[in-house]
Amino acid sequence: MSTPTTFWRIAGMSYTQYVTRAATAVRNGLKEPAKTKALQHETFSYNAASWEAGKIGPKKQVNKLTNAGISV
């Protein structure tokens, strides 16, 4: 792979991480009460589990984008 060109890529972020952070910045720029309403659109939560040879591994709760996709 050639050397990365954008700063966020050099910092190790993926494009979706960059875009969602940019969206957070836009939402933080709003005035109340629109701000709290918009920030509610950011929260999410689910349980992720890896499977090995047909057996499910331990479940891990994911509610931050940086925690997503991490093998347990």
């Binding site: 954008t6 991480q17 999410f44 939560s45 499977w51 984008l65 997503a68 996709g69």
Partner: protein, 294 residues
């Protein structure tokens, strides 16, 4: 004399009465569930309408979703050598056939793909899909994402596509998302959408008419693929959520209707049993009285 009915194996008046009461309670619960689903459907429908225009562009880049109307006619021949199948199912039950249709389609797809000598693996979204599909093909499952907090948003889709990347989505030739699509409150269809990473050079290089700034096209195409995957997961998730609510509404309405019919049948039985009891009591009294006289 009331025990005679029970000795003969027929339901006694008391038992039928209890059955009627519990069926009435069930009917109340299912009709309230139907109203809750109808209210939630409104919100899901709005979210879906908002999500639709933001996903139209993916149809231009990776083809339209394919309708899974008749499983026998779907061949999956356009799929490349290695595919990652992502079925989107619900976490909660009592929602009609949404999840079993998806499980059936995925099972059929895996059979046909393997018969063509190609490979595929599965990342399941939703608990109901996990429980159904882990019985049929547990060795093909890579990851599962369950207990998703409703309603979904784009950050959720971003996290789910990160899960796909961690499961190795970049090593597969295509990602196939299988989902339910909401048509209206009574109808939903199954679709699958194939997302392929776009070739950066050589034959079949995509977007040759465009100039890329900065000049690293491969980086931008990688970003675009990631974004396309996230956008498609977002749209399919919204679609699936609306379809789930509409299916639950229909299922609960049918359950309430069936409960109502059961109550009617049971009430007739109850009245017959009650009248039989009254008749036998009268006969006892009269025969007792005539025995005294005679």
């Amino acid at each position: 004399m009331a025990q005679a009915g029970a000795a003969r194996g027929m339901a006694t008046e008391k038992q039928i009465f209890n059955q009627i009461q519990s069926t009435k309670n069930i009917k109340k619960i299912t009709s309230s569930m139907k109203m809750v689903s109808a209210a939630k459907l409104k919100g899901d429908e709005t979210r879906l309408e908002l999500a639709k225009p933001f996903n139209e562009w993916t149809n231009a880049l990776c083809g339209k979703p394919v309708h899974l109307d008749d499983l026998e006619n779907i061949t999956y021949e356009e799929l490349p050598q290695k595919t990652l199948i992502v079925p989107i199912t619900s976490d909660k039950g009592l929602c009609g056939g949404v999840n079993s249709f998806i499980s059936r389609s995925v099972r059929d797809a895996i059979g046909k793909i393997n018969a063509q000598g190609k490979e595929c693996d599965v990342v399941i979204i939703g608990d109901k899909g996990r429980s159904q599909m882990s019985r049929s093909f547990p060795e093909k499952i890579l990851r599962t994402a369950t207990d998703i907090q409703a309603p979904g948003n784009f950050n959720l889709a971003a996290a789910l596509s990160a899960e796909l990347t961690a499961a190795g989505a970049m090593n597969y030739d295509a990602v196939m998302i299988v989902y339910n699509s909401y048509v209206n409150a009574a109808v939903y269809h199954q679709y699958y959408k194939v997302i392929k990473p776009m070739a950066v050079e050589g034959e079949g290089e995509s977007m040759v008419e465009y100039e890329f700034e900065p000049d690293v096209k491969s980086e931008i195409m990688g970003d675009l693929y990631e974004y396309m995957l996230t956008s498609q997961i977002y749209y399919c998730f919204m679609d699936g959520a609306a379809a789930e609510q509409s299916s639950r509404m229909t299922a609960m309405e049918n359950a309430s209707k069936n409960a109502g019919e059961m109550i009617d049948t049971l009430t007739l039985q109850y009245n017959r049993a009650r009248q039989a009891r009254i008749t036998t009591e009268l006969i006892e009294i009269i025969s007792g009285a005539s025995a005294l006289e005679g």
